[in-house]
């Protein structure tokens, strides 16, 4: 198992290099010259060149790519063109904010999603089920940014209960961003929980458990839920990535100084070192989270453990690699 985790951790390195190359290439061919953007259109060629050297954006595509990758290996994400400070320092401050909000959101999402998912599955085809599935459908159909604005409209503009923006002064500022992010995830998690529970409750081993004389709720909790968790955990893992991306929008709406907002501002200012840093950070965090999810998997599903221990690291375990025999 430890071997598997180490392999997976090592696999993150090529992923990050690959992500860097992709993002670097996309940004390299973007219109707009950061030097002129920073110094104004009238800057002298000498000043521009000096700026470029300072920021490390002089030279050909390959030179710059090489420099970026070397920096990455040393843990250096470059210097922000705007603030002229190391990107990493900027990111660390902001990541704490984003992490905080995302963590609360996913907790909210998991609690709501699993609870209502189970209720809905066990009370299939009742009013409760229709109500819960209906709400979940609305949840996944609402654009996150609109949902955020509606929260502002209701809770700050009309009711005046919560502040519409900012972060860090009061817990009240966290409520709406967390709800905006969390409700969306909970809808997805709820739908997965429901279908997974329904599927599991049909299985033969549930019948076996009932035939043992086990009570209904014990059958649900001991036998059904743990099996149903397998796809739910997958979805939660995917939701973590969605959440990080969703923070871009929520942070923009609620003016939270997190990674998402930093990214949007950097993109608008053509501050590519900062953009690259953000993308890398998010990719890195997603990779770590995915690894954690996969490890949790083995605790839920013993079959996975056997598979991980024998499987090659590049095999995606969730897809259930089918042998050709």
């Amino acid at each position: 198992m430890l071997k598997y985790i180490i392999k997976r951790l090592l696999w993150i390195i090529p992923v990050l290099i690959g992500v860097t190359v992709i993002v670097f290439t996309i940004l390299y061919f973007s219109p707009g010259d950061p030097a002129y953007l920073a110094l104004g259109d009238n800057a002298t060629p000498e000043a521009v060149e000096a700026y470029r050297v300072e920021m490390g954006i002089n030279g050909t595509y390959w030179e710059r790519l090489g420099r970026t990758l070397l920096g990455l290996l040393k843990g250096d994400l470059g210097i922000s063109y705007r603030s002229r400070t190391p990107v990493l320092d900027e990111l660390i401050v902001r990541f704490k904010v984003t992490f905080n909000i995302s963590a609360w959101s996913i907790i909210l999402g998991i609690l709501l999603g699993i609870f209502f998912g189970i209720i809905s599955a066990l009370k299939q085809n009742t009013v409760w089920d229709s109500l819960a599935t209906g709400c979940a459908l609305f949840g996944i159909s609402m654009p996150m940014f609109w949902q955020g604005l509606m929260l502002i409209l209701i809770f700050s503009v009309w009711l005046g209960w919560l502040p519409a923006s900012g972060y860090g002064d009061s817990w009240k500022q966290m409520v709406m961003p967390v709800i905006a992010l969390g409700v969306n995830s909970s809808a997805t998690i709820m739908r997965t929980t429901r279908s997974s529970m329904l599927e599991v409750m049909r299985q033969d081993y549930i019948r076996t458990a009932k035939a043992k004389g086990q009570s209904y709720w014990m059958v649900v909790l001991r036998h059904a839920l743990r099996n149903a968790m397998i796809p739910i955990v997958t979805v939660i893992g995917l939701q973590l990535g969605v959440l990080l991306a969703g923070s871009i929008v929520t942070e923009a709406i609620f003016s939270v100084a997190g990674v998402g907002k930093y990214l949007v501002d950097s993109l608008n200012a053509r501050d590519y070192a900062a953009v690259q840093g953000c993308v890398l950070l998010i990719a890195f965090v997603s990779a770590i989270l995915n690894l954690i999810v996969d490890v949790i998997y083995t605790y839920i599903d013993p079959r996975m453990k056997t598979m991980y221990e024998s499987a090659k690291v590049f095999h995606l375990p969730k897809k259930g690699a089918k042998s050709s025999v």
């Binding site: 992709i22 459908l137 609305f138 159909s141 654009p143 940014f145 409209l153 503009v157 991306a245 929008v249």
Partner: protein, 281 residues
């Protein structure tokens, strides 16, 4: 006649799901609105008139007017063209690129590893981020927005198609086809695709909902379609400044997005239920 009976069977099952039928009707309605926008809209989408700025919804302007005096209803009607075409074409792009890569990966083991590892790399970047970077690189325009949203979900489709083709390929009827001498392309076109297409259709419908949301989110953040184009996300973004006084400017475009996305989701769910081979008896 034979294909017909298959479709009618699917339709018969689909029809039983009232939600899905309503969703389909809503979608058809929006498509009609988009097609006949010129005939339906009472005003042009960029008819500015300072004298009638910021009128709250009333008889003459059912959805009110914005800060430049443009009729919100008319803008919504024209805006449906953007949302629907982005949804449709972006998913078209991802289905074609992802589908092609997925089939190739599933059928040619040598390329499988390379293709899927590349897809993994792209999957490591959240879709929204990737789309933002692509739009930045290409510059914001309707087509680039579609391209960005479409390409950013290519890896997802490549995976779906590959998995579905691999699963279908293991089935005995494919072996049966090989035993009667069918070639690779005949097997792909006649046996594998028709049997994996249903999951692809479902995925595509749901992805369309996702694409519309992503595109409007990009516009909302200023990476998508720019003023004065009446894209719903952009309208929302513009109306946001007035949320304290003219809330309808944010509520209404958001509602429009939600209704379309809801309809797509319901139809997608309905399709999945009626195309699910496990339900076939």
């Amino acid at each position: 006649m034979k294909k017909h009976s298959m479709l009618s069977e699917i339709w018969r099952r689909f029809r039983k799901n009232h939600h899905a039928v309503v969703g389909l009707a809503v979608l058809v309605l929006f498509v009609l609105i988009a097609v006949f926008a010129e005939q339906l809209a009472p005003f042009g989408y960029d008819d500015q008139d300072a004298s009638r700025a910021m009128i709250a919804p009333c008889m003459e302007y059912p959805f009110g007017t914005d800060n430049l005096g443009r009729d919100v209803l008319s803008r919504l009607i024209y805006g449906s063209r953007y949302s629907l075409s982005i949804g449709f074409l972006a998913v078209g792009i991802s289905v074609l690129t992802g589908g092609f890569l997925g089939v190739i990966a599933a059928y040619y083991p040598k390329l499988d590893n390379i293709i899927m590892r590349c897809m993994d790399l792209f999957m490591a970047i959240p879709q929204m981020l990737l789309a933002m970077c692509i739009v930045t690189a290409l510059g914001s325009s309707l087509f680039n927005l579609m391209l960005a949203v479409g390409l950013s979900s290519t890896p997802k489709f490549a995976r779906v198609v590959r998995a579905s083709v691999l699963a279908t390929r293991e089935q005995e009827f494919v072996e049966a086809a090989r035993a009667i001498g069918a070639g690779n392309w005949r097997i792909i076109l006649h046996h594998i695709l028709p049997n994996s297409i249903s999951s692809l259709i479902v995925q595509a419908t749901l992805a369309m909902a996702g694409a519309i949301i992503s595109a409007s989110a990009l516009s909302f953040l200023g990476f998508g379609i720019q003023a004065p184009m009446p894209e719903w996300g952009a309208m929302l973004s513009a109306g946001r400044k007035y949320i304290r006084t003219q809330a309808y400017l944010t509520v209404i475009p958001g509602l429009a997005i939600m209704v379309v996305v809801y309809a797509l989701n319901v139809v997608g769910d309905g399709l999945r239920d009626c195309l699910d081979p496990r339900l076939k008896k």
